[in-house]
Symmetry: C2
Subunit: 247 residues, 2 copies
């Protein structure tokens, strides 16, 4: 795949993922924050000492692993102890990524449970634990796909100007790599687009004029405070790891 095709393809995936993420956040925001969903051991031995969300995420990944989800280069599991696929392996187009084991799902899950849910859901407990957890799994999977797409973004940026990255990567200079992959204009464009989408899809067409199912400002903040920074962290980690792998 040539560089322009790669870049267009990455851009297309990231834009379509915005819909998936916004729909998933709107669905989750129907329910209260429901703190018991995230408390480890809250439901005793039945969930293996995990929280309810941990239990459901683990069970879901178990099933999806059998359907070869995690053989795809843009999918990253939250759990390591997953079974082998039962479906025959798909032949993927040769991945443009270099070998790496970057997986920031532990950080994503922490941020999601402790910051994003309390921020976007109404406080309190409406007893809709199962429904909340099912929505959480959809959110976490979409967010994980989004932030780890940073690997493709980073690879594409690197290929465009490998020379500029060399010193910073050789020195393992995280801050310098972060500066090199940061493009404030692109970030601004993403946020504008996300705001428009959140405003459009988050309307409460059954409520009065101006009523919303989820405040667009909240979606915007989820992107600016958490999704974009975590994506950039993936980009930096990927470049540092992939570079180390080559030397």
């Amino acid at each position: 795949m040539n560089e322009q095709l790669l870049l267009d393809s990455i851009r297309g995936v990231l834009m379509r993922l915005e819909e998936t993420i916004i729909f998933a956040l709107i669905e989750r925001a129907q329910f209260a924050a429901n703190p018991p969903v995230y408390q480890a051991g809250r439901f005793g031995a039945a969930t293996g000492g995990e929280s309810l969300i941990g239990y459901l995420l683990h069970e879901t990944e178990h099933t999806h692993a059998r359907l070869r989800r995690y053989t795809s280069p843009d999918e990253h599991p939250f759990f390591a102890d997953l079974p082998a696929p039962i479906l025959p392996a798909l032949r993927f187009d040769e991945s443009p990524l270099r070998n790496n084991r970057v997986n920031l799902n532990a950080a994503l899950r922490r941020v999601y449970e402790t910051a994003i849910v309390p921020f976007m859901c109404k406080a309190g407990d409406d007893a809709q634990y199962g429904s909340s957890a099912v929505c959480d799994v959809a959110c976490l999977q979409a967010l994980s796909r989004r932030i780890h797409y940073g690997k493709f973004v980073a690879e594409s940026k690197y290929r465009q100007c490998a020379g500029e990255f060399q010193d910073a990567l050789r020195a393992g200079d995280r801050a310098a790599v972060l500066r090199l992959i940061t493009d404030p204009l692109v970030e601004e464009r993403v946020l504008k687009r996300v705001e428009l989408k959140a405003r459009t899809y988050g309307q409460d067409l059954d409520g009065g004029p101006g009523q919303v199912k989820l405040d667009p400002a909240h979606v915007l903040a989820v992107y600016s405070r958490w999704i974009i920074p975590l994506t950039k962290e993936v980009e930096v980690e990927y470049l540092l790891h992939a570079c180390r792998g080559q030397s």
Copy 2:
């Protein structure tokens, strides 16, 4: 719960479910129809002879049953061989429904696989079997919840004018019951609202003006051809069963 409260509550749930259904259909329509997902035995012994969607739906219901999903009076499983909940039982508000075993999921699944998917997805095979099946499960669960909410609708209609139903129910006259529960004005209002929602949420804001992710006419047809008729079938079945249970 008094009659007006019951009616308002039913209406609120059905309206909010429109969002869930439309989001789920839009997500599924990203992928091609992918016929292999629905072919029994296509993936051999690994899926227990089931189709891929049957396998994933079964596994998902297995997990959700443990989270007590099917103890809720508005949830109906597609499979019968599910494990007991591991979460303590929730105390639901006393259900307004009378005892019944009406479950039209087999018909829903048939209609979904053989009519809705080929109708709304672009024809062909893009090899995204796992992603398609994950979206299918979300669609089927939302659609099942929608059509079986017909039980609450029917109970509410019955309570408003039990007298009018008596002869038809005693005679088991399906056509007469169907006439009694049919309200063309309400159906028209639902379709208008669904069309507006589908047009709003289905916009492709990354494409040119007028571009859509899923044609609103397709969503409308899903409602008018399949969701509304199946809901009415649930209503009729429920009234006939519940009535038989009482006599």
